[in-house]
């Protein structure tokens, strides 16, 4: 489209560059500020010679191999499990209304911050937890909790459980999002019907016809999940073993250690963490290629039915178990937040009180306000930048390049533990007094990709003929943007805003580090209390943490409806 040189158009044209800069510079700056100390350059301690002592130290750390192995195995297995279950659910319920119900049940889990989820799952599976209470003492004979090493088991099974339950809704909703795209979704469903008419059982039809077309859309979300899981801190910290912990947790502890020389080892660890994550991403990609090669001939071998019925039943079982776990975990949180004394093995607290909510709410307003302000600013910025960048796409008539789309996901693919510590140092250099701005910028790194992801498809799908018609009627680009595109995109914008808010609400490390601890959000409070002594206070904070984003999505769902009915 040929556009004139107006102020709006200049703004639009420059916004992709601004967006890229806001995403790339902090990550690169943060990485440099970690690479230098990793190789021995740390002037504060008087180290100005480059060497590899940090890596030698790291190598000599007891259990370093276990740490790396634990990080790699838990993230790979949990991502694989989440992916397989996602596919099984899609395959089993592809033509059933249950897909919609499961989506509605799992949707809220997506917005539960990792820390809150870990707290909830921890209570469920701990020896004195809900599961144990359900069978005690009538079945198990336990009057006191059994002395089992779970959670916190050395194999990381509890981490895998936590990560899988948290990643699964994300992948499933991503897949359903793809299927909800009108054209693609329609074609895939029609192709599925064709396969059925050719005698394929629904499960086989899904695997042979729908999955190969669906997977390319899921690849990036899966890789993001894998990268996140390999370096996540909250779930391994709350559910994982500590002798030794995962590498990411160990790195965080070294960065925070009193012994400042450990920073060098921590920086070296961060480099190793990046290498591990890249290796994982590469392995996934290779596995994908191998499976594709191996299965290509199976696609056309004409076999219509494998063990469809058995797989279907297994999927039913998994789905029911998963929903039970999630339901019980949430119920447990609610019970704890109102619990008087709750002795083992009682299934319910002896008394219910509101004092935990009262005393927590008294202390909560400042963090609550900060949470909302930061979330609002970061999300608002992200939406404006995303809309302008997408608008620029249409002005120049080409979608963002492949490199740019990778850059957009950079903060999701590079372990945040690796660059956040460096980023804080960089922010220190530039602007150490306005911590609020620093926190908003740090949140923007993680909010922007999700907002872009959520908004891009709707924006690109918008029928260009509306703009052509408007332009032929003499409307300027700015007018078309404000009066045609934005109103038509109202619902997706609200959804993207709710997603952005949810992502911002759940940020722990970025808030802690960029805010220098001066800015407390509900999430930082929840994590610092999670390690604390009171399950009841933790439960209140975790529930508030869950309620906030849920409220956001409720508004995003209700507001456009209200605005539209108002118009009618």
């Amino acid at each position: 489209m040929i556009t004139s040189k107006s102020g709006f158009n200049t703004l639009v044209r420059s916004s992709p560059y601004l967006m890229m800069a806001l995403l790339v510079l902090p990550v690169i700056g943060g990485l440099i500020a970690v690479v230098l100390p990793a190789f021995g350059w740390f002037p504060v301690l008087g180290h100005t010679q480059f060497n590899i002592n940090g890596f030698v130290d790291l190598w000599q750390t007891p259990g370093i191999g276990n740490m790396a192995l634990l990080s790699v195995s838990t993230s790979f297995i949990s991502t694989l499990l989440a992916f397989v279950i996602t596919i099984l659910i899609l395959a089993s319920y592809f033509t059933s209304p249950w897909l919609g119900y499961i989506q509605r049940l799992l949707g809220p889990i997506l917005v539960i911050p990792h820390a809150a989820a870990a707290i909830a799952i921890g209570f469920l599976i701990t020896p004195s937890g809900m599961f144990s209470r359900l069978v005690s003492p009538w079945l198990s004979g336990w009057d006191t909790p059994p002395d089992w090493l779970f959670p916190h088991d050395a194999f990381g099974l509890s981490i895998i459980l936590g990560l899988t339950l948290k990643e699964l809704p994300f992948l499933l909703l991503m897949a359903l999002g793809v299927l909800a795209q009108p054209e693609l979704g329609h074609t895939l469903r029609a192709q599925h019907r064709v396969a059925l008419s050719l005698g394929y059982c629904p499960m086989t039809a899904f695997f042979k016809v729908v999955l190969p077309s669906l997977y390319p859309f899921l690849r990036l979300p899966i890789l993001a999940v894998l990268a996140y899981a390999s370096a996540s801190v909250e779930i391994p910290l709350i559910l994982g073993p500590n002798s030794p912990p995962t590498l990411a947790v160990a790195i965080m502890q070294w960065f925070h250690d009193v012994d400042l020389s450990l920073r060098i080892k921590a920086s070296a660890g961060a480099i190793v963490q990046i290498a591990l994550t890249l290796m994982l991403l590469l392995s996934w990609w290779l596995a994908e290629k191998l499976i594709k090669k191996f299965c290509q001939s199976m696609l056309v071998n004409g076999k219509r039915e494998y063990a469809g019925a058995i797989i279907q039943n297994i999927t039913h079982l998994i789905t029911v178990m998963m929903l039970t776990v999630i339901g019980l975990a949430l119920l447990g949180m609610v019970l704890w937040s109102f619990a008087g004394f709750w002795a083992y093995p009682d299934l319910l607290p002896k008394t219910f009180v509101t004092q935990h909510w009262q005393s927590a709410l008294q202390q909560m307003h400042t963090p609550l306000l900060d949470t909302l302000l930061i979330g609002g600013c970061a999300t608002g910025l992200a939406i404006v930048l995303t809309l302008l960048t997408l608008e620029a796409e249409q002005h120049t008539n080409k979608t963002v390049s492949r490199l740019s789309s990778v850059i957009i996901y950079l903060p999701l693919l590079i372990p945040s533990i690796a660059f956040l510590f460096g980023l804080v140092w960089v922010l220190e250099q530039i602007n150490s007094y306005h911590t609020f701005i620093n926190v908003v910028l740090a949140h923007l790194l993680f909010v922007l990709p999700y907002v872009f992801l959520s908004l891009a498809s709707s924006f690109r799908r918008l029928d260009p003929r509306f703009s052509y018609v408007a332009a032929s009627l003499g409307a300027s680009q700015a007018k078309i943007f404000w009066q045609i595109k934005l109103p038509m995109l109202l619902a997706p914008i609200f959804i993207a805003a709710a997603l952005g808010l949810a992502i911002s609400f759940s940020q722990y490390l970025p808030t802690l580090l960029a805010g220098g601890g001066r800015i407390n959000t509900i999430t930082t409070e929840a994590v610092s209390l999670a390690n604390g002594a009171s399950r009841r206070t933790s439960a209140v904070y975790a529930l508030v943490q869950m309620l906030l984003p849920a409220l956001g999505f409720l508004l995003a769902w209700a507001l456009p409806k209200m605005l539209l009915t108002h118009r009618e």
């Binding site: 029609a190 008419s197 050719l198 076999k303």
Partner: protein, 221 residues
Amino acid sequence: MQKHEQISAANSNTSSLVIEQLTIQRQQQVLLSLNETIAGGDILTIMGPSGSGKSTLLNWLTGMLPKGFSAKGNLYLNGQSITDTASHMRRIGLLYQDPLLFPHLTVSGNISFAMPASAKTQRQADISQALSQVGLAGLEHRSPQSLSGGQQARVALLRVLLSQPKAILLDEPFSKLDSQLRQETRQLVFEQIRQHKLPAIMVTHDQSDADAAQGKIISLF
């Protein structure tokens, strides 16, 4: 092709699709009623404006009636009731207005996908022969997206036929083709249906399609 003709010929005596006392309702309202027998090689044409229940009928025939609809009546294929048979067990082939070729498979992959499991080399030979019969010789390893609209429609037809269906449903099969191509493709499809002696139902809103089918025409309103 020879092999399939033999199979079809063996079935030809009993080959029929019977719709017995069908009533489809939507929220207590009767959408359509039908009582028809289609012999092998015959094409029943259903005409009517959109919303008249054409696609609902097809959905019932394929066992994919959506929520909110209810149906009474029976469906017999070659004398066997398939009223409650699962979609994929009915062996009723479907041809849509979109070819709906699978983009991740080649032309030969798409057809091979439809064929019953058998030796790979035999299947490849059958596919090559079938392709050359419809003027697509040598396109086995092309991706479907690289074909023209008419070529795609022919591959979709071969895919249905080589899956050895016992009946065939045509859902506005030619509406996306331009008039020259439309005529050619239509001729090819009808020829093949008659050759295979398959009972067929075609849904269309185009009078020339209906005329070319040379069978009974039912109009829904």
